[in-house]
Amino acid sequence: MTSYRLGNAGSVNRGQPLTFTFDGKNYKGFEGDTLASGLLANDQMLMGRSFKYHRPRGPVTAGSSEPNALMTIGTGARSEPNVRATVAELYNGLTAVSQNRWPSLTFDVGAVNGLLSPMLGAGFYYKTFMWPAALWEKLYEPVIRRAAGLGKLAMQADPDRYEKSWAHCDLLVIGSGPTGLMAALAAGRAGARVILVDEGFRLGGSLLSESASIGGVSPADFAAAMIEELEALPNVTLMPRTTVFGWYDDMVFGAVERVQKHVGTPSPDLPMERLWRIAAKRAILATGSEERPLVFGGNDKPGVMTASAVRTYANRYGVAAGGKIAVFTNGGSGYRTAADLVAAGVDVTAIIDARAQSADAVPDNVRVIRNGAVVSTKGRKRLEALIAERSGFQEQIACDALAMAGGWSPIVHLMCQRGAKPVWSDEAQAFLAPDVGAAFIAAGSAAGQDRISACLKDGATKAVALARELGFAAYEMNIPEVEGEYDPAFAPIWYVPGARDKAFVDFQNDVAVSDLGLAQREGFRHIEHTKRYTTAGMATDQGKLGNVATIGIVAGMRGVSPAAIGTTTFRPFYTPVSFGALAGTSRSEHAAPVRTSPLHDWAKKNGATFVEAGLWHRSAWFPREGEKGWRDSVDREVKNVRRNAGLCDVSTLGKIEIFGKGAAEFLNRIYCNNFLKLPVGKARYGLMLREDGMIFDDGTTSRLSETHYVMTTTTAYAAEVMSHLEFASQTFWPELDVRFVSSTDQWAQMSLAGPKARAIISRVVEDDISDAAFPYLAAKPVTLRGGLKARLFRISFSGELAFELAVPAGYGEAVADALMEAGKDEGICAYGVEALNVLRIEKGFITHNEIDGRTTPDDLGYGRMLAMQKADFIGKRQSSRFGLTAADRMQLVGLKPVEVDKEFMAGAHLLKEGATPSMANDQGWVSSVCHSPTLGHVIGLAMLKSGRERYGEKIVVWDGLRGKEVAAAVCPPVFADPDNRKLQE
């Protein structure tokens, strides 16, 4: 193994060596290396295999646009696929493995695809695998997917934490190169709140790779001094390792911070990544520019890189990309790269310049081939030589790396994410940032400036202007002198003619010039169609490197300007963002909050099994020793409530306190039934309609004083009802004096039901609760023995004599304990929502099974509650429409099986006897079903066409889903105590 590490060049920390592995082999690098620079230093140029043809590939870049050097980093649950080795920060013990190869990176069977490449052009699978269609999903697609691909996901749960945060600033500076540093300092010195963000692990951007001298010091030292001053400013926040991936409405930027991606043993006290939303008053895009690759035959050999990447590896990391490096250029960048390499002692074999002449300084003893072109390359797993051609004369030049300089494209992605398209400039021969208004502006080379001195000045000037606009006293900055700058001007050459091998425009997806030609011939001419047909510009790099060349070549094929071709659509995310970061803390049990009742612990110690109902965990039943299943427990609880008494937690029902002189009138308009004359101390059942006449929610509302009511809602609709009341109050009738506050969480509420309920509760309540003093539907504040103030309601959802007792939440468990103790001799039991449901079905009470948004009060047998004589209530006008009063509407009925041992389930449909199941023959459906321990068989509630006229009729309960048919008799929907005698006891 040859070492390609250069003497003492670069800014890696030679005093801090690191060890890491790649494909099981040990390597050494330094602190400050990326995984790619560490591998290159160790003569490991081969880093991956291409997506389609499995061609051997090395890194093309030294940054985030990297298409080739994708690896899986980490092990086990922490393994992360498709990491770009060119940006992955090296740490001690890092484990990397290559992807998309079998059995190994050096010998990959999939490379046979390369031999078949004449058949595998753009769209090949659409054309090849058409028949038989059935084989597509079963055979072709899985095989193609296995052959073509990226890394594999870890199938274990991610062990790390992620979080989200907001940040606010006057000026957001995106990018910390010469432009960004000057901008941040200019605004920072003026006192503006500045956030400086950079995707790199070290701030400084391109300054870390430059070789000029700025203000008499090296660019890296100049950057270090700027950063030191910025760090000392309390109003400036520096955020390295943070990528701004999106620009959203109202100047909100999305960014992801890699907090611990570079740490061998992550701290459990820190998140792995942090997702930021940055609300900025102004922002400067200082993202720099991307060097374009050249498109020539064999341009994908490992060792062919952009010139700026070769420079970065040499100047920043102290790594030579090769022992003998050739340069292929169309501008000054190639010459500067050659000069830097020569200065570092690297052998530069030749500069091949596509232009006939140039004023660029040629390093001593380096041969220049002007008007030249590279038409082919030799070597397989690493470049060995290139074939250069001039005027038909070809020669082979030995080299193990090739620096290609194809011109510069400003990195304008973020500015184009909200609909604006970049603008082609003939002068710059590049797409430039669009004008997106005064709040977000591009500066430096992102704005088309091509020299360091110009970038320093542009960043400072624009930041000063923005700071002044925001009212800060910003002063002009002194721009330091830059010595030894070069002229990066270039003459574009989109496609190098005479290619003897495939010339790639998109490395990651193996899209060659020939594929672009095919797309044009076959009619996929719009650039968006060309992209999708050839896959140019897709996958993890999203064409950061190849898109401009794709557009330039398509323009060349069509004989038009790139301006006429335009770009594809830019969307977030700029670089891939993990799902972990996007989810933040919202995962597993934290994906949604858990609501527990104040009686949760009471239920728990009484042995409850809990059920999730929305966010709530409700006690479902209370199993006892010897019971074989939930039905045993529920049957026992139901029987005990009907015979003795039971205590049920009903705290989850929505509770809304309503105050104000206008409250009575307001409720009268909210409910379809009368509420105006509800006396103080009384509860009333009410139905709330939607404006279309359908029932919205139901519940009881009690009048505690002239101007104070407490409303209960169903558990599921508590939030909706609250919003509904607020909407009606604030937009329909703002003149009514009424206010609301939700008190669901403030009260523990329990229902004590059963013939012995009064005997039990009177041992806990001081007040007289005899039937005379506290009749059915009484609702009053009471005092418990010991002095606790409570609310008592004589309401029932079981058909039994029942009381609901509400106490401040913190006292819930103690009061429930007291009631259980007081009822011990009476045989009290705890019962859950399952028994509650059986009790209400037996009694024919409705829930949202029946109130499903399609039912009117009359459908459910509550037609008499509609107080049409009222001047107004929500839903009044639509309630009288013919469709809502039609005689053949579905109406609530009861169902009993004809043979008592037969069962049916909710969701089944109803058919006349002998009718074939069809939409036309559908008579209705079953809404609620339970086994009734009171009757000893299954009972159901159902919606049936003209149901109330059909009591006694035999009907078929057809359950197509479960393949069952049961004969049932239609009956009234009240199975227990139809005369309500028990309620009045």
Partner: protein, 90 residues
């Protein structure tokens, strides 16, 4: 859609604090024609461009607001409390 909404009571807040109900539309007088009621309950325009919507500051002051915005450019022209919306000069 806007990322930030300036509530007249709470100031500039993220859009996640709000829920949207749809077109801001005055409820008709109970006595108007069946046709008017039908239009109010069932018919909605689906304008491209500027229009007014009811937004509820559900995780804030719990006031219903009218957000005057452009659904193409995402510009927000104003946010008013629904109780005062449309009542100026009434």
């Amino acid at each position: 859609m806007a990322s930030l909404i300036t509530c007249p009571h709470c100031g500039t807040r993220p859009k996640e604090e709000f829920s949207i109900r749809g077109t801001a539309l005055g409820r008709p007088h109970p006595a108007v024609s069946e046709e008017d009621w039908h239009r109010y309950v069932y018919l909605r325009d689906n304008p491209k461009g500027r229009y007014q919507e009811y937004w509820h500051h559900a995780a804030g002051c719990r006031r219903w607001l009218v957000v005057d915005r452009d659904n193409v450019t995402h510009d927000v022209f104003g946010v008013t409390d629904a109780a005062t919306f449309g009542r100026v000069g009434e």
